[in-house]
């Protein structure tokens, strides 16, 4: 196992096999460490372990609280996507209370969720992952690539304004680069819109049981729209920048397709409920799931195997063989005998803090679907929605079965069509590319949602909350939602208005998971194992290993709660 720690010795020759640990891996969301065994003679990583190094115990803290409070407490699970946890908790409460948020509330929640994607994708692409492809990094790790970049014209110059690939790389430089600074600026623009309805970010103050606590009026939509349309031009620019960078790396060395490569095993709940299809009833989840603007689904080995939300949920299990928890007795908190004893809803959280020298090495559980190691992310959502080709709502985004066509309206740049296609290979660079196109996708969805809110205002359907009574009997509710980084599942059982159990599984509980009971590594582990070392001999930063990890856009507060 690779979780024995050993520091690379200074000046040591880079040959043979040695253990290298990256603790912490910076520029990801949250506390993540990576331990690897690197074989320098073979020039690749031969073993890897991902460690989630933080546990706060939200599931336990939620127990015994007023069920209504789940929203404001659970939101704090993650400060990178608080909106998603707030909305998912609201869905769980509404299912348990048997109430339904009115169309304006569903549309407004969708809008908040979509805006959260705008900020988050920009943050991932330029603040977290982007610097890995920047001038100082490329110069230090692959001087020959820098020389090549200086001589390579950028195809997207008309869209992004950078003449050469080296100019883009300079722009990607951490702190001083133009693209870095612009991304920070754009994340703030997205948040400005967000707080008009959400009140604050990352933890919105207006997501409440039965709706949204915000009066949406013409000014709100005006302010929102002005910010969303900035992402039309920006989205095109981001897609063009990443297309250029990725094509450059592939052309320089086709083996960059192997960095972070693994079989495409992807999972997502879909996103953006149709306000008229969603009824907060579990028995109808398959139907309203497929009516989402982004389609739920699972892709195994590159093949779409289901778009059924109930099947996605039913096949989700958690294992703690290599996680800092004790096995629960089974029998199941959910009381649902059709679910496996390892189903996430049957889990109890029994922490056992230990050290990574035992066989347990992470605070993250091993979430699996149908026993497969699945990855979740904005890119998974784009892929699944594209190939499922079921999205009923196609105002600006048209799934084609093999990709997604975007019709971007005119802003400062003229109106244009853009297309993302399911890639031939699946690795770090394709994850980043798909996230770049996800930015375009969610910009268009945000705009669409602004138009929907305006339409509801026009029809006088501005009502945004629902009255409810707290049920006095015992109830169960779940939220099968999404965040910029992928699926977010909350499951709550309650009695007399109080929470009895609360369980959370997210995209990163899948992506950043350790090995499961059968020894199957988690997705990031799989992607790092086999990643070739393509940097100059002597590069001790192992940049391609880090590129692989960051392409997943993992979020550890979501993963380990």
């Amino acid at each position: 196992m690779a979780y024995r720690l050993e520091t690379p010795r200074e000046g040591g020759g880079l040959s043979g096999t040695r253990q290298v640990n990256f603790d912490p891996v910076v520029r990801v969301a949250g506390a993540l460490a990576l331990h690897t065994t690197i074989d320098h003679d073979r020039g690749e990583v031969v073993d890897a372990s991902v460690l989630g190094t933080l546990f706060r115990g939200y599931e336990t803290i939620l127990q015994g609280r007023d069920a209504r409070d789940a929203i404001f407490i659970a939101s704090r699970i993650c400060g990178v996507c608080g909106s998603s946890h707030a909305a998912t908790a609201a869905n769980a409460i509404e299912m348990a209370f048997d109430i339904q948020a009115p169309p304006m509330a569903v549309a407004a929640r969708n809008l908040l969720l979509a805006t959260e994607c705008l900020y988050s994708h920009a943050h991932h692409l330029f603040v977290l992952a982007g610097p890995d492809y920047s001038e100082p990094v490329v110069k230090a790790t692959n001087p020959e690539l820098w020389a090549r970049a200086e001589g390579t014209l950028a195809r997207g110059v008309a869209t992004h304004g950078y003449e050469r690939i080296s100019d883009i790389m300079t722009g990607l430089t951490r702190v001083s680069g133009e693209l870095y600074a612009e991304a920070l600026y754009m994340t703030r623009i997205a948040r400005e819109g967000y707080v008009i309805i959400g009140g604050k970010y990352p933890h919105p103050q207006t997501t409440v049981p039965g709706g949204i606590s915000s009066l949406i009026d013409t000014s709100d939509m005006n302010i929102y729209m002005l910010r969303v349309v900035k992402f039309f031009d920006y989205g095109r620019k981001v897609a063009a920048v990443w297309d250029d960078i990725i094509d450059f790396f592939y052309e320089a060395n086709p083996r960059y397709r192997e960095v972070g490569a693994r079989a495409p095993n992807l999972i997502d709940n879909g996103h953006f409920d149709d306000p008229w299809a969603y009824d907060a009833l579990y028995e109808n989840a398959s139907r309203w799931g497929e009516a989402r603007w982004a389609t739920p689904g699972a892709v195994v080995d590159g093949r779409l195997v289901t778009t059924d939300l109930q099947r996605l949920h039913g096949g989700t299990e958690e294992f703690v063989d290599h996680s800092f928890y004790e096995n629960w007795s089974g029998g199941g908190a959910s009381g649902d005998t059709s679910l496996s004893a390892n189903h996430a809803w049957n889990k109890e959280t029994i922490p056992a803090p230990g050290s990574p020298s035992s066989s347990k090495y992470s605070w993250c559980t091993a979430a699996r679907w149908d026993r497969h190691a699945m990855e979740g992310g904005g890119y998974a959502r784009l892929w699944i929605t594209s190939v499922a080709n079921k999205s009923p709502h196609r105002m600006f985004c048209e799934p084609t079965g093999s990709g997604m066509r975007f019709s971007i309206p005119q802003a400062s740049l003229p109106a244009t069509e853009l297309e993302w296609r399911v890639p031939q290979s699946w690795g770090a660079l394709e994850r980043n590319r798909a996230n770049a196109y996800s930015l375009v996708h969610t910009a268009l969805i945000s705009y669409d949602l602004v138009l929907m809110c305006l339409d509801l205002l026009r029809k006088g359907e501005g009502r945004i909350s629902t009255e409810f009574r707290i049920p006095k009997d015992s109830r169960e509710g779940m939220g099968l939602g999404g965040s910029p980084r992928g699926l977010v599942n909350h499951h709550m059982t309650m009695d007399k208005g109080q929470i009895e159990s609360y369980q959370v599984v997210t995209h990163s509980t899948f992506s950043a998971s350790p090995r499961d009971g059968s020894g199957q590594p988690g997705p990031i582990e799989q992607a790092v194992i086999g990643t070739p070392l393509l940097s100059a001999p002597g590069d001790e930063s192992y940049i391609d290993v880090l590129r692989a990890v960051r392409s997943f856009d993992p979020c550890m507060p979501c993963a380990t709660q």
Binding site: L5, T7, P8, N21, D23, V25, V26, R27, V28, A29, G30, A33, T53, L54, F55, R56, T60, I61, R65, D66, R68, D69, I73, R76, C78, G79, V80, L128, P131, R174, V175, R188, E192, V195, I196, I197, G198, G199, K200, Y201, P202, H203, T206, G210, I212, S213, S214, L215, P351, P353, G354, S355, S357, W363, S465, E467, S541, L546, C555, M556
Partner: protein
Amino acid sequence: MAHNSSAGRSNGAIALPERAPNRIAPDENVHVFWLNGMGCEGCSISFAGASNPAMEQFQWGTLPGIPKVILHHPMFSEHSGDAFTEPYRQAAAGRLGAPYIVVLDGSVPDDEALPSAEGYFSAMGAGGISSHTGSDRPDRVTEWLYRLAPGALATMAMGTCASWGGIPAAAGNITGSMSLMDFLGGNYRSSWNIPVINVPGCAPVGDNFTETLAGLLHWAAGIGPPPEFDELGRPAWQFGETVHRHCPKAGYYEEGVFAEAPGDNMCLVEIGCWGPVVQCNIVERGAVNHMGGCMVAGGACIGCTMPGFPDKYAPFHKPPPGSAISGGISKVYGGAIRRLRRMSMKTGNREPLWDNADEVPSAWAGAVGPRSGTDRFAAYFYKKLQYNGTVHHGNRYKKQPLPKSRDILTQKGIDHTQSVDVLRERSLPREEI
């Protein structure tokens, strides 16, 4: 911003000296060592969302009079692993050779009390902090804290978890979490003799933090005045008032008009707002770039900046007990005030010219016509009071002749009545203000 009120003065908090005990030279950099404890990354996201000043401005060194910041941050730094932790290690060993500030987001787990020396709830790095031994032992965030804090220029708690424990320290927690002040103890002083600085909020307003950091550095450079902190180490100018005082809905409260359901535009106290007893500036400053803020958007305050958060404000969505009294009083008193104000608005909503002509030329509303006798009567007394002892503009305007080109379209015989009929077809019921 107003902070000269009775609540704005802290009662007996120590003040930093007018001149800093040391001084950062103009060409000297200040290192900021950021640590993530039991947090959600929301504080780092807030930090990146700040714009007054912005994170990158510190790093660029483009804030005049404020030393350039070398930021060591798990979410923003360049290098991973040992290359990242090495400067932390140097600082902990007193070998950094430059002034530094420690910032913690997230609360502090009771890791030092865990039975296993290698167990942890929150760790960063491995191999030993004081000497890099290459052992398996994870470096607990608690150890980073107690080794780094004493030598720091200042130690700052970013957000409610670090400031007061927050949700990870709430009832039912199994990690023994606490605040940075609880962990370091009441006697803690930095090497510049400053107790822990707390910038609370869950998540905090990013600008509150960057502004405090900027103020601190400005003072440390020997230029700015000492930032003022209250008795709990909060920036006094930011947390010296209740959020209710600046709330855009405070006028509703005064007039006794309350929201019954989320989405109503009135004061939110009856759907669970704690604003009248919570120290926070989000509605005044805005959440991001002066925009948003909880009640600005319509969300009730749950006290997320306060040491009692969350348990002392939960269950949420329930009116605070005190509101039954103060809200009840304001319904009676505010109701009367509101009626008087509406009366005066009736005259204020009329041009003096309309009074003279005794008609309102608006096609928007069929109902606006000549004034009723009561309205005239009320207006008469109102003006008497208003102009008493000074110029009576009401009487002056009465002598003003009506402009001759009023209603020009009728005078010229241009047909324009179609559009008026269209408007009348659909009239919207409007609630009284």
